[in-house]
């Protein structure tokens, strides 16, 4: 079955958890015991409707405050597709979670409260979806019941977002608008009779229609070596297999490959998955390969097709989203993790701070604080084999780790 990962985002009280609860309920994904618990809790709290947010808000603090504070993962499936929703909170201070959710998703739902229209948070969500180049974005205009299902109100919001999208650098985004009421179920799973002026698909119909293809269809094959497999048994005495996951392209036996950083060349001798041999492997597959020649390959090296080499660099320019309460500062040192490859990194300069509301940028900021986004130049302690994020998402992103706390402090998108 196809697996589709979706990120959701919305401001506090936009009804995101209610929307997810509604999807679960209407697709029969809530089991009886869970439903029973929701009914009981809703009754206890004196609500006259079912509070579906109780299905997703998993932590005690969240249930107490009635808000979502961390990325939660929700699973449901229809006969056609398995869905994984990364539910990221919409609070200003939790932008990092939104970036995290979007980094693991192929599509994104931005939720807007029809009464409030486009608010600061909407800009931010929209900005992040553009920064991460999420291809399919659906804007769900929620609480339509509270604006009398007004087409005018819906079009006003749609117009504002479309105006924003013209300012974005990322031009390949498919933007869809759907008027919904999560509380009443209008246009969530079933098409609504209350919104007869809307002729498009319901939210779930739209999601089911998305292509579940691997991202970066057009990019080049990258095979970072995770482990060298040496069984040291009689049967496999001289065996040296390279274990890793194929990104960006397919690989076949007989392909000419270049090993980075040594730039030695060889040919793919075998492709193995568990106890079987294959002639070809499709991208996204975790496989094990051997080469014709006895070349030196170790963890962190990368195999690419000869003639499709990435940039080999010791200096990088990147857009960074900061995720740590200790700010990023020029001349600070971090560990950089690019895919599975690790090195040390020094921030050479912090060039611009980018406003997440499309209002522009300011030059030479002194630091990058939690949830801020900026342009930096950095130097690394050993060569990295990179593509731009635009060319190859997996090979164009990295994280920065604070060496004192080991926290994942920021994520970078290579220019």
């Amino acid at each position: 079955m196809n697996v589709l990962k979706i990120a959701t985002a919305g401001s506090v009280d936009d009804g995101k958890s209610t929307l997810i609860g509604r999807i679960l309920y209407d697709t029969n994904s809530l089991t009886e015991d869970k439903l029973q618990a929701i009914e009981e809790k809703s009754r206890q709290r004196g609500f006259d409707y079912l509070d579906f947010s109780l299905a997703t808000d998993g932590l005690v603090a969240e249930r107490e405050q009635g808000i979502t504070i961390d990325v939660a993962h929700i699973y449901f499936s229809t006969p056609k597709t398995s869905f994984i929703i990364a539910d990221a909170p919409g609070h200003v201070e939790y932008t990092r979670n939104m970036v995290t959710g979007a980094s693991n998703s192929q599509a994104s739902i931005i939720l807007i409260d029809a009464r409030n229209g486009v608010v600061e948070q909407t800009y931010r969500h929209f900005f992040i979806n553009n920064l991460l180049q999420v291809k399919d974005v659906v804007v769900a205009v929620n609480k339509m019941d509270l604006v009398d299902y007004s087409e005018e109100k819906f079009n006003e919001i749609k117009g504002e977002i479309e105006y924003l999208s013209q300012k974005s650098n990322y031009k390949n985004q498919n933007l869809t608008f759907i008027p919904i009421s999560a509380l009443h179920g209008d246009n969530v799973v079933e098409k609504s009779n209350n919104i007869s002026w809307y002729k498009g698909a319901s939210l779930l119909e739209y999601l089911e229609g998305l292509q579940v293809e691997e991202e970066n269809n057009e990019s080049k094959m990258r095979f970072p070596v995770q482990n060298v497999i040496r069984p040291k048994t009689e049967e496999y005495h001289d065996y040296r297999g390279y274990a890793g996951k194929l990104y960006g392209g397919d690989l076949a036996v007989g392909d000419k490959v270049t090993v980075l950083p040594s730039e030695t060349q060889s040919t793919v001798k075998s492709i193995q998955f568990f106890d079987q041999q294959f002639d070809e492997a499709k991208k996204g597959s975790s496989i094990n390969i051997t080469l014709e020649d006895d070349v030196n390959v170790s963890r962190g090296d990368m195999l690419v097709k000869t003639g499709e080499e990435p940039r080999i660099v010791k200096q990088l320019e990147a857009t960074i989203c900061w995720m740590d309460s200790t700010p990023l500062q020029a001349s600070e040192k971090y560990y950089i993790k690019h895919g599975i490859n690790e090195a040390q990194a020094k921030i050479m300069s912090l060039d611009t701070l980018i406003n997440t509301d499309f209002s522009g940028k300011s030059d030479n900021p002194t630091q990058l604080s939690l949830n801020e986004i900026g342009q930096v130049k950095l130097k690394v302690s050993k060569p990295l084999f990179v593509d731009s994020y635009k060319e190859n998402k997996a090979n164009g992103a990295f994280i920065l780790i604070n060496p004192k706390t080991n926290n994942t402090s920021g994520v970078g998108f290579i220019n």
């Binding site: 699973y75 499936s77 497999i229 975790s286 080991n406």
Partner: protein, 301 residues
Amino acid sequence: MNTNVIRVGALESEAIYIIREVVAQFEKPVLLFSGGKDSITLVRLAQKAFYPAKIPFPLMHIDTGHNFPETIEFRDRLVEELGVELIVRNVQDNIDAGKVKEETGKYASRNILQTETLLDAIEEFGFDACIGGARRDEEKARAKERIFSVRDDFGQWDEKNQRPELFDMLNGRIDLGQNVRVFPISNWTELDVWSYIQKETIEIPSIYFAHQRDTFLRDGLIWSVNDEVVYREEDEEVEERMVRFRTVGDMSCTAAVISSASNIDAVVEEIRASKISERGARIDDKRSEAAMEKRKQQGYF
């Protein structure tokens, strides 16, 4: 020319990638093996990750002494077939040494006591990464769990201060004394696991299939009769029922379900049509709304 093409499924490929990262990033990993379907699935994934080499880490079972005998037999057979090391640490030892106090009464269970034994074993062997079969769809506190979940000396989960996990980059950097719990099948659902067991024809303990068993009813759940480990009131009547187990924990905290599914195909069909969640049969989760979150903060896996 016919070519023989492999496209590894997204969830399987992700899990194998994660297990390979554990071996690359940590010095002393271990796979926490309970004999249940999730950890059996993990073992198959670990085999696939390193084939033709053997699984490069031991399995460890924290034995409560209240396991179903079928599970233990299965465990020992599997370990022998794979040729991997099995470490067993017993909750009973901690009870005997007076380090932990056994629960008594109607709902007594050793489930919580496992945590102490697990933490002791992690310290004894110096494990820096423990691979477990927990899934995010099981329970709502687990829905917030990371793939690499950092724990301190006390095994504590600091749920408000978790590292963000971006793309598939896994940050395994820890300080001495810390360890990481790793969940390679985080994104699998119960049905995904069962479908995988079916597709791969993986052997599982017989208690997962329908069988006749002496049982009694309490709180609408079907309990196994075992006078040594499961407390039973005199008026709780024993009756033989055709049942199977959907999740396998201790006898004292795992309820059976009425079923006639006697093979894997029937089990998969039953799960597909089921209206009750898997954890609905876990008595340990019914203690309170936040039961799982509290246990995890204290070092439960």
